[in-house]
């Protein structure tokens, strides 16, 4: 039996995390490019038009993955923020802070693509529907988290205050997810769930899953890249940063 164990705490040291992230980013970026190419090819060329919505439904291939990502990234950000708040692990704070801009970006994209899909199908870009409104609140939570971080000069106080906001805001995620069941909304219910078979053609849900994986790979690559820059800023006086400055390119 192998006695090799992964030393997880080894990577909570900034220098080790920095090196590991540097090695992982190209792999995740490449996977993201391949999966996006596959997803776009299947979604725009191979999948047939919808029998009711025609080609307008093709927005689903980005709308659903980015909407899922917005919720997943918020929960992940809150978990990291909570770990940073409770156990004072600096790398958890760095990760939470690095996730926020990408989470905000995906939330904005979910709202944007939803609005553009709403116009041909509902006849309006926006309604104050429970799903749309709770997703908009998610965007404000991401922006609020980033604004709070930027507004407080002391790094530890900024991390603590924004972590509390992130944790309180988690309550909004189940509200977004179940809003279509709890309230009578214009937004349709879930087409793909963990407990039931998808209610759409195989090519459609497979493409959605591929695009979702592509978004995950993209998110991991950009969050790790942002975390590396954040580490460099925080650890700029450390000896290992000086060593990397001599041996690496920007």
């Amino acid at each position: 039996m192998s006695r090799t164990r992964i030393q997880w705490f080894h990577f909570t040291a900034p220098a080790n995390f920095y090196d590991l992230a540097g090695r992982l980013i190209p792999a995740f970026a490449l996977l993201s490019v391949i999966l996006f190419a596959m997803g776009l090819y299947l979604g725009l060329w191979v999948a047939p038009p919808d029998y009711q919505q025609g080609d307008s439904y093709r927005i689903i291939y980005i709308h659903v993955p980015v909407a899922w990502m917005s919720m997943f990234l918020y929960v992940l950000m809150a978990i990291y923020a909570g770990i940073g708040l409770i156990w004072r692990i600096k790398m958890a704070e760095v990760m939470a802070k690095s996730i926020a801009p990408t989470g905000a970006l995906f939330t904005f994209l979910a709202l944007w693509t939803g609005a553009l899909w709403g116009r041909p199908t509902w006849g309006v870009y926006w309604v104050w529907d429970a799903r749309l409104t709770s997703e908009l609140i998610l965007l404000f939570l991401f922006l609020g988290y980033m604004a709070l971080h930027a507004a407080i000069e002391d790094r530890q106080r900024a991390a603590n205050a924004s972590a509390v906001l992130a944790l309180v805001g988690v309550v909004n995620v189940p509200i977004i997810y179940f809003s279509v069941q709890w309230w009578n909304t214009l937004h349709q219910g879930a087409s793909i769930t963990v407990t039931q078979a998808p209610t759409m053609a195989t090519i459609m849900w497979v493409t959605i899953l591929i695009m979702f994986l592509a978004c995950w790979m993209y998110s991991i690559a950009v969050v790790l890249a942002r975390a590396r820059t954040e580490i460099l800023e925080r650890e700029r006086r450390a000896r290992w940063v000086q060593e990397r400055l001599e041996s690496e390119k920007p």
Binding site: S56, I62, T229, P250
Partner: protein
């Protein structure tokens, strides 16, 4: 090809969605690269200055 681009008459909404996705991800990547490069140059300048002071 024209038929593909027309998206059954829904091109402004379909391409508007895909273009925004491409645009914001491109901006995010560019911003990350710019921030890292600027920080790197600043750190190198600081390291050079501290070496000069040591001499």
């Amino acid at each position: 090809m024209t038929e593909f681009l027309a998206m059954g008459g829904y091109w402004p909404w379909v391409w508007g969605s895909y273009a925004m996705m491409a645009g914001v991800t491109a901006v995010e990547i560019a911003q990350l690269r710019f921030r890292r490069r600027r920080l790197w140059q600043w750190l190198q300048r600081m390291a050079r200055l501290s070496r000069q002071e040591e001499r």
